[in-house]
Symmetry: D3
């Protein structure tokens, strides 16, 4: 089984974290490829940056999906995920979707621990968009500017533990979701220090993607996730045009 | 990996369907055990029957969980699931929870196709309890009394397809969930006839349980899914007493 | 008029509190009987304990309802209530349902004061299940372990008043609900000390049950609260079998 | 016990229906007084008419409450109810509030059967304002203009039964609420013809008011239902001024 | 274009604030008239006071609307607004409605800064009634009694800024709504001191009303905002009778 | 005042419709510029097409906003709107946002009439994202494939009227929103034929944008709509880089 993880951002250091955790989480026989966005920003904190990341993700997916069994949008907030689900022939998921649904299997309400205050509004909208608002206990975040996106785990590890503890003790969290690709793999280290289950986005996405590949669902030919109806287009890459040319839907 | 599926009902014919689909869905190396409730009703359609099924499930889980890596409540509505999640040391899921969360990975809104009209109120409450009401497109059901719970798939196959089609065309469903253990395995047969992805409860639960076992989450020592605080009890089986004696939580 | 109150727990001391308040609250001519669960735990704080309490309640109700005009599930969280409403020929209510609906008659938003932190998650789910989430101002609770469930009122009286005051001053509560059968009767004592109306579960349930008996509603022969459709069962007590044999519903 | 029912409308024929049902529903020893608004419209169907009815109700309550133990706003939609609850020293309820909360004691979801199509929007807002939207199965209504508001029960009896049946069979109603004071008493006649419990506003309000009087809740001295803070006023009746002069709240 | 602003309260000093801001906000060619309620209270903080204010507003609108192109209910909470929208032939809005919808154009979530603690419950209900609860970040308020309703802006200016800052920093507000006609015009002064956009009710209402007049929507002849069906009435002013005599709706 | 309308699609015929209605709706002294996306599809019906449209809109806005007082995203669904609001120094709105908020000023619940069935899922998500789900009565749409996106108004005019009538008569709509830029201007023609107010996206957006420009709100320097924090980026156009270089936010 071949899984493609697309980092919608330009940070190679974050792609390396994603790759490392994905490889550790994958079943034997699953191969992992991680691509980094050729354009965009270092990490997505805002709706505007998500617009850029979504387009970069769409572009990369159009170019590279063919040789993979499933695609993962490897940033919290899942920029472009629903659009990809319409056009790709294979299953797709994203770090947020997979992490939050996995959290639902472990308890009643989850909290999200995030890497910056600014990012929390976008995460809240992501949770609402997934229809999971009633299961969100809280979102807590680091507040000081990040020195280095690639080393936030080591730089801020103790602070992240304290945030998770506050989610449990003050907000009623049954599960902690460590959010943001820069935290990929941290759950593995903190598992025994936290008093409730802790969920990692990358490993959740890898496991859910593997499950979807084994499920082998039919591609929608109706409903709102069938391929977009064919219509004129202009100025798009050949690969995007090819995806749109499949058409379908209703 | 050993998975225990507990049928909260007394129908051996349904347990056979559950076992067959579970075995087909399991990864190589996963062994499947299915237990049938020693007391209760033929199939759960009502809240009252769910009270009985929940207690039977709790009893069986207390007796048999020790030699398994995860436990699955093998009836829609998941009677007893949240209680088991508090007390068992291993991961737990149920057919509804696993199916609905899997459906969320395949589209925006799902519809449930059910085997009797009476059962739909309980299913609606199950969806609401999971906090997924905003993703429910509709629930449709068979309306004539079931001749035989074990043969409903063959007796009512065409009618079930028609119901699913109505969910897509009239209710806006992106995904169909075939609900109720008596429909276990039917999704596999209908996959190519339906125009949207179709989700089976047993296979979803097996896959999600496998994912949870591989995730190996820590057992909650805090939050509302830690073990119940130790307190006096009376009249319970030795196995239930043993579960309660672990205590913990807060 | 004969009212049956079923304590789903094994604590005779709590049954005594329930009985005392029920007798004080009942109209002239109403007789009160309180039964204590023969199996289960000392008091329900968790979903797992609620599964046991629900089954014990169902059993007692099946055995004893015949000579009563209404049945009351005498624990907050109302374990088994909806199931009983399906099968019993007489009206049924529970402490939570009756208290929360009574609170709605006294103000806009209510707060719940509870006897342990652990119990609050289950109470929140109870409120949500009743569809009253938008009227919940807050849940506050004692945090130290209970020395004696039967004497919590005297042991913790001042602390409970302070919690109620915080609900009014900080959470916007218009009404206070003292939750949990171990607090039965306390509202009567605190009525003049609190600055907003205070609601007791037992007295609310007795009054609502009396109102229902005088209303004399027809037993549902349709909808989701008609009796469960008749189907095979096994391993149940004669009394439960008798309830199920009535059948009906759709 | 003395109960005051205020018909916010000018229809004496409706007041007679209200009085008749109230007397039938009251406990021995409860005396019933019904007042009819001296100004306003024949029956409230719209938000504008409710503004008038609320003011008329407030005026009548200010003038007459002193010699009663509880006050009932005797129109569906409960015009002025929340305002009265702030200022009156005694308990207050209304037909909608009492009927809908009573319906919640009898099943999961209720439907409302109404006397005109136009009135349904206002009823829906009433349900939402009470926070009970999740328990509303549907609102169905007569569609032809009413020949005579005082005889709608006899003129349209069969049509009302058909509407209630549709609520049960097509909308999933567990309980029927016959809404609007012009239908006062009809539930009593239809009780055996409908297959689910049926709720009447007047009798529900009388019973809930009796329960509140027996509960004898303290008047709020804090929260949003304490008396309005004292402030200058002008142009109000002596009785309204007297209510406002009590002041309090925060 | 002629706009009529109706102050539902008796405070001429507040009417003067309303007039001043309305004139500053109006486009060239728009004339402003402000009327003060001849009866009622100094300012509306409670549901009971809103009942009075709504009736006074209805009365004034009936008498004076004819020579205006739009009517504005010039108090937060918009007493009587929906009723006026049914009966007046011209567009109508209110300070809350206009301010909150304007706030929605400037960010994701808004906070309301209010002039008294008591008023906050009514404001929360206003937000909920508008269906905008998911966009409300918080309501914060002054807590000390107001010395003079006409000078609250100067008396409490710094405190109001501190409240707004807390909404941004602690509650996640993207926009601040300064609520209550006594704060009319303050947004203009604080605009550069606050770090997020700040919305004023009067200016929002003037601009939205101008937009509606230019839009020139047809008066509803169907739906729930058509004129109320004609029916008997009594005891109403000639002007109210004239409004009701237009009839229509369904 | 200069308004920039950005058509996120490549259809010049639709841009012409947008321009015509915008010019008719604008106040004297307002100049209108309409830009058409240089890349993308003919019209957006799906989430995937919205990803492309959002990026094209962002690009055009970055290049052209400087000489305008406000920017309008001129497609229903408002692709990229929230992102633009973060980074542009001037006010921004979109056809959906402006139309739905304008509809809220005209009645309680609105229905959307759309040009294709496929588009309705995306519109529903747009309504939910705006937090206006409780005010949505229904979405109805044309079902046959569009012969020509530029002539849908004349080709399908009668069918669109019939859909609007069904929204009023069957779904309880108080207001009709004609959705989709290809319907720009149709409301003007249908105004007298429909029995409830009808709202046009382009004219709503022009009026709301004019109101925002006159309001002259401060650009957010805090909250989630401040400019994104400065961070490394790559591969972006100079104009996008310039927007991102402003930084700010928190």
């Amino acid at each position: 089984m071949n899984l493609l993880l697309i980092n919608p951002n330009i940070s190679e250091s974050v792609s390396a974290l994603i790759r490392a955790e994905a490889v550790l989480s994958a079943s034997p026989g699953t191969s992992i490829e991680v691509l980094t966005a050729p354009f965009g920003v270092a990490y997505i904190e805002t709706r505007m940056e998500a617009v850029i990341g979504a387009y970069a993700t769409l572009q990369l997916a159009a170019e590279h999906h063919a040789r993979h069994d499933a695609v993962i949008v490897a940033a919290f907030g899942d920029p472009g995920l629903a659009g990809l689900r319409e056009v790709l022939p294979c299953p797709v998921t994203g770090l947020s979707e997979a992490a939050l649904l996995s959290a639902c299997l472990l308890g009643g309400r989850f909290s999200i621990v995030a890497i910056s205050h600014r990012i929390t509004a976008w995460y809240r909208e992501t949770v609402d968009h997934l229809g999971l608002g009633s299961r969100l206990a809280s979102i807590r975040s680091l507040t000081s500017p990040l020195a280095d996106i690639g080393s936030v785990q080591t730089d801020q590890g103790e602070r992240l533990v304290a945030l998770a503890d506050a989610c449990v003790d003050q907000d009623g969290a049954d599960v902690i979701v460590l959010a943001g690709a820069p935290l990929a793999g941290l759950a593995r280290q903190l598992k025994d220090r936290l008093r409730v289950p802790v969920v990692d986005g990358v490993s959740s996405a890898v496991r859910q993607a593997e499950g979807l590949v084994r499920m082998a669902p039919a591609k929608a030919r109706a409903g709102s996730f069938g391929a977009p109806p064919v219509k004129p287009n202009a100025g798009l890459s050949c690969e995007l045009q090819a995806l749109l040319a499949r058409g379908g839907g209703n």
